[in-house]
């Protein structure tokens, strides 16, 4: 089998890791939590890093009027379907299609990923800004606007007494690797096509 074809088949299959490993993780550190509170985001659920972490994040967050992290969100239905379809599509392309389709798949996946990240940002924004007006504690920014408690999209940020970390996890790394393998498949496929001519 050609190298490009192999990469195009294996790359999308790597994304199946999303069904096993978490996509993202938010960790909250504070002095009174020597073991930090952590929440993993999978493509189909939220999960505790340590038992009852989400319950305890909710307990903390209610002081500033943040909503409870929901049991489930519509994305948990949509994401698995999208990923499933893209994996099947990718494998089929790998077996049967021209290398140009590899790029098409990559671009589509890139757009879907970007949409996912944007969706995540919107959810985070709402979670961090849409506060209960009866909140126990209300904080203002130096400019007088109400303080938001949105966790960082990617990176580390101080939120009151917490340091919040937001980083990709195993599932995401497998997805990124898979996607770049398909991009690599395109370039290699292009080179292979050139050599054959």
């Amino acid at each position: 089998m050609k190298k490009s074809k192999l990469l195009m088949i294996v790359g999308p299959l790597l994304m199946l890791g999303l069904f096993v490993f978490p996509l993202w993780n938010i960790t909250l550190e504070a002095p009174q939590y020597p073991t930090p509170l952590g929440m993993n985001m999978h493509i189909n659920k939220f999960s505790d890093v340590h038992e009852f972490d989400i319950k305890n994040i909710n307990l903390m967050n209610h002081y500033v009027g943040m909503k409870y992290i929901p049991e489930t969100i519509p994305e948990f239905t949509i994401f698995p379907i999208v990923i499933g379809v893209m994996v099947v599509l990718g494998v089929l392309i790998g077996f049967f299609a021209n290398y140009k389709w590899y790029l098409a798949w990559f671009v589509l996946m890139f757009l879907l990923g970007a949409a996912g990240i944007y969706d995540f940002y919107l959810w985070e924004y709402d979670y961090g800004h849409n506060l209960d007006p009866k909140a126990i504690m209300s904080f203002k920014n130096p400019d007088g606007s109400p303080m938001g408690f949105q966790p960082p999209l990617l990176g580390t940020k101080n939120i009151l007494n917490f340091v919040a970390h937001s980083y990709p996890r195993g599932g995401a790394y497998m997805m990124f690797t898979g996607m770049f393998m398909t991009l690599g498949a395109f370039f290699i496929g292009k080179k292979e096509a050139g050599e054959n001519n």
Binding site: T35, E51, F52, K55, N56, N58, L59, H62, Y63, Y68, K134, I136, M137
Partner: protein, 660 residues
Amino acid sequence: MKTIFKYFITFTVVSSWLVSCGDVNSGKSSSQGALSTNAAEKVYVAPGEHDDYYAFISGGFSGQLAVYGLPSGRLFKVIPVFSVDAEKAWGFNEETKPMLNTSHGFIPWDDSHHPDISQTAGELDGRWVFINGNNTPRIAKIDLTTFETTEIIEVPNSAGNHSSSFVTENTEYVVAGTRFSVPFPQRDMPISEYKGNFKGALSFISVDPEDGRMDIKFQIMMPGFDYDLSHPGRGASHGWFFFSTYNTEEANSLLEVNASQNDKDFIAAINWKKIEEYVNNGGGKKVPANYAHNVYDEKTHTATSTMKKEVLVVDPTEVPGAVYFMPTPKSPHGCDVDPSGEYIVGSGKLAAELTVHSFSKMIKAIENEDFDGDAYGIPILSYESTLAGAVKNPGLGPLHTEFDGKGNAYTTFFISSEVVKWKLGTWEVLDRKKTFYSVGHLMIPGGNSRKPFGDYVVAMNKITKDRYLPTGPEVTQSAQLYDISGEKMELLLDFPTVGEPHYAAGIAADIVAKKSKKFFRLEENEHKHAVKSEAESKVVRNGNEVHIYMTMIRSHFAPDNIEGIQVGDKVYFHVTNLEQDYDVPHGISMIGANTSELLIMPGQTESFVWEAKQEGVWPFYCTDFCSALHQEMQGYIRVSPKGSNVPISFTLDGDPVDIE
């Protein structure tokens, strides 16, 4: 029967003390200030760092067991055992009241003496600590996942439960030996007829290897001596248990004189495996008894007390080859078996030297029937036949010996206030260090096992005058920590203790710490009055009893305002802590409550009763600082006149605060 003691000659104790006042390096101790050594460094545990050992030091007359870290000497927790403890509602809440039930009714106090840690294959396994209640004979078991007392069994036919609670090599048994002999069965009789009529019960309490459940397997009815301390055999001597005795004179008045007449008392050697076999084959006699067995269930968070009506009694003369007496000079206190199980050290409180028996010589003497008569039909082995050796001129008033696992023994001397290090086998004194003052027991972590952790010894002192800032006529009792890792002992630290530090048990921290529970799982809470979400909280009237099913979470109670209570009502608070986070207990108390506050761990339910005595509106609040809004965690109870038509009602604002 009178043949027993005629062999024993008396000699003057005082003169022997004088010659025994050894002087290996006395006077050195005063120059041993902290600045001249690196003692401070050796006990310093930096902020955030953990100690290397847990020390469980009994509270003596406080009835409790305190947990300290070594080498820092920091106090972590006082575990309530035999005495009520308002801090933890022990004996005050409905759940733990049954734990202090006895055949004499509810007893809010005892005298806790000797803790011992459970063992597997002769090594500490860190599952449980056992401790004896001396006054109203009891044995308690403390679970080391929760550091809470989970079982207390009363010991019938006993009094002054002193020679306990030591465990056998696989925690097959924990023993309870009576210090005071008493009539058996108990009855009205002249005290002057003590001799021959009073009996000393040695109780073997089996421990279930899975759940630790205790049960009195048998009691050996021994002659009416005082049974002082005991230790299990190990290694080759596993299967035997040794009990020191005093008052073999069987005196009943002015014992300080009359029980100090015999030149030698005994160490009783009990082959418990033989008696166990006898019992398993139907031996022994079931006799009527009345004793409480109290068990705390971690799932229901509730104790139950069951009165047991029978106990199996064994007459030692009916099991030939199971019980022997080894003569040991002058009222021995400690009865300590070295890690190999070969040496049994008898510390004659009034003797000039330390007597060490050899287990193998004892077995040989038994085979050769090398007896010097008998006591009530129990063979007395000849003194010389079991003697391994003696430590000459060790000090004054030897009490108790522990071992470092490197062939050395450490003995406390009460009268001369010192710890003396000596060598097993050669019996030579290697080192001695002053204690401040009047040392009783000492403890090396793992001391009562095949594998002592020979880094430290803790001396437990009765008197401390001038060692600490004065606090009126009563100054703190104290423990002292010595480094024993080198050839010479080094005093590192004084630290105050709660109550009388009678005896202690120590264990490497990593064996216990990793198994410590962080909270109770709410879903496993089977308390009959538990409510697991705010939605389930309610107030129910039942005649003149009102039951409040309440929840607590940072930072509110549900419900928080309760109306419809009437004067004369008994109001039961059944309170569940909904938290599922480490170290987030909440407390609750009610004005005028004649119990104590409740301190409720995450996922736990506790109950207390409050009697409505006066009309009015009365507050309750959280007693344990729990969060930034701890001060807001409060509510009211409205009390109306008897017969009032105010209905039962309650509030919790209207907000969707339930997160379950």
